[in-house]
């Protein structure tokens, strides 16, 4: 990335770890007397948390550092995301976990489900049972119940009441955020894109915790800058570079080695399919239905995670991203021991190659850095196919 560029968020955290900015925001909320709720996954309906005037925060799960400690208790042959998050907890090194009053989990996989039992020794945790047959009518009914249960848990634990009006307001807040995020994503659809994935990540990280109203100013100034870049022809040297879409498991922290390998090989990342990327902003929640919990349930059940079966929603979501961002190749990032994404990769690869005619590369990795060269070889070869 060209470091001479003016940072999109020109505060004292520019160029630093973007999590520091998120932490500062959370701390400012705590100083105002707000309570914090820790989350691990995109299925947690943040609208209920916002509606209760609580602050949602994504907990640390992307560093290799605490894995060694976690492996004293957990099997080594488990996904690095779970090992890392548990390692952060037992080594007391995740400031977000320390600030959280409670944690909300979802049964997205067996590993997480069982680790939640262990996490409950450190913090109160409320686990939502996620239906896995998204197309079945039972799924929606059961998911509505789970969301109501969560509402009950929040109301009891924090001794408050969440009204439908509060939830409606939170839905409007989420929708506004989705709209603004999608405006930013438009700048990735350009050739060349005028926003680098690292810059996008700064915005995405902030978006996970911030209320839309606290972000409007930041969003507007970002869009103004991106518009100026577009008009002034930034990143011109990147015009015509191979455009890469990333799909699969969430990627952040030490797994970003894959994105960096794309940069080094001369590719540009134009779409991020995963939960750590554009997925939280893939669609809107219906407003003013009179039944806001049902509206939330419908929206969240549409999240195309590999834990769902069948997960055809992911193929439709990929269609959308391919049409919008025009990638030349797709890389599926699988975290070691994530069986559902790993198995689903075959279907996804077949679909991408046959239906869209795009080269597809699956990379299975973890948070260690010792496969960086092997990953570089694969990505260079993938981009060679395109040149």
């Amino acid at each position: 990335m060209d470091r001479k560029l003016e940072p999109l968020i020109p505060d004292k955290y520019a160029g630093d770890n973007p999590l520091k900015r998120v932490l500062a925001y959370i701390e400012s909320q705590v100083r105002e007397g707000k309570k914090v709720v820790g989350l691990y996954c995109g299925y947690a309906p943040v609208e209920l948390i916002h509606a209760a005037s609580l602050v949602p925060v994504t907990l640390c799960a992307f560093s290799n550092a605490p894995i060694e400690k976690a492996e004293v208790i957990l099997p080594a042959n488990l996904c690095p995301l779970i090992k890392s998050s548990f390692g952060f907890i037992i080594t007391d090194t995740c400031p977000f976990f320390a600030l959280s009053e409670v944690v909300i989990g979802e049964t997205t996989c067996d590993g997480k489900k069982k680790v939640f039992e262990l996490i409950s020794r450190y913090k109160p945790i409320h686990v939502m049972e996620l239906p896995q047959f998204p197309e079945s009518p039972r799924a929606l009914k059961s998911w509505v119940l789970m969301i109501k249960e969560l509402k009950g848990f929040i109301e009891t634990y924090f001794k408050l009441k969440i009204s439908d009006e509060d939830i409606e307001a939170a839905i409007a807040n989420s929708n506004l955020k989705t709209k603004m995020m999608n405006q930013i994503f438009e700048y990735l659809a350009l050739d060349p894109p005028v926003i680098h994935w690292e810059e996008l990540y700064e915005v995405l990280f902030l978006g996970l915790s911030c209320k839309a109203k606290d972000m409007v100013g930041t969003f507007e100034s970002i869009i103004e800058k991106l518009e100026a870049r577009k008009n002034e022809g930034y990143f011109e040297e990147k015009q015509g570079s191979p455009r890469v879409m990333i799909t699969g498991c969430p990627v952040a922290g030490d797994a970003l080695k894959v994105f960096r390998a794309v940069d080094r090989a001369g590719g540009v990342i134009v779409a991020l399919e995963a939960c750590s990327g554009m997925k939280p902003y893939m669609s809107y929640i219906e407003e003013g239905t009179g039944d806001p919990i049902m509206a939330i349930a419908k929206r969240y059940l549409r999240i195309p995670c590999s834990c769902m079966t069948p997960n055809d929603g992911r193929l439709r979501w990929l269609d959308h991203l391919i049409n919008r961002f025009k990638p030349h190749a797709v890389i599926d990032v699988i975290l070691h021991a994530c069986h559902t994404y790993n198995v689903e990769s075959y279907k996804v690869g077949e679909y991408i190659q046959k239906e869209h005619g795009l080269p597809f590369l699956k990379i299975v990795t973890d948070y260690s850095q010792n496969d960086t060269e092997q990953i570089a070889t694969r990505i260079e070869a993938l981009l060679d196919i395109l040149r």
């Binding site: 080269p359 299975v364 990795t365 496969d371 060269e373 092997q374 570089a376 070889t377 694969r378 260079e380 070869a381 060679d384 196919i385």
Partner: protein, 268 residues
Amino acid sequence: MKAAGLDVGSRTLKLVILNGNRIIWAAKSLSSFDQLGSVLNLLNGLEYDRITVTGYGRHLVSAHLGCSAISEIKAFAIGSKAIFPECGVVLDIGGQDTKVISLGEKNEIKKFEMNDKCAAGTGRFLEIMANALNYSLDEFAVAASSASKSEKINNMCTVFAESEVISLIAKGAKREEIALSIHEAIASRSVALLKRVELKGEILFAGGVALNRFLCNLIARELKRTVHVPADPQIVGAIGAAIHASGSEIFRVLWHDGKEVEVKAVHG
């Protein structure tokens, strides 16, 4: 113009210098912890106009030499076509990687597959297993070919396979039978990787592991297809890199005396 290609592999360094379409120099040495030192030794006193580096250590070496670098996949794709134009699929088993590359009609890379990040089924795996059975690499292949029956090795992780081998020894299995079992395990793994691409055109087996003729036979037998093996399967990537350095499209490469680079057919 003299164009050099250097393949900095995990176990072996390979160097080829082309003068026009003729190979005027081909040399190999073992990789060491001092990769740059080994490379400079190999290049010492040699003359060339341009050089391209490939292989595991390409980024380190190209940064030092100030030259271009290409992935092993591209290098093997170019090199294979240069010595064997009928080639449609390349199987390359090196020290730490197994790759399958399928090539299109315009010599382009259509698709490639690689093993997982561990050394399972690679040259390093063969070395460790030979060592566990107290064989040299040559003896290992000969012993395997002499065995009349084999045991199934289930675990292809190098570490676990080694303990599986040790338990087979403990059960009193014959050494050559274990050797055959290991060769069969590598062959079936390679065939599984090959089957992930469309097997159109002839198959070329390159990389250091192709020196093991018994394994070549096993792979051909399991595929029920002819597999072609270069007389020196290790230098294919270096030839590809040298062609890249020359800046030309792929051309047929010959030895300095005008002889073709020999490719043997192993029938399935």
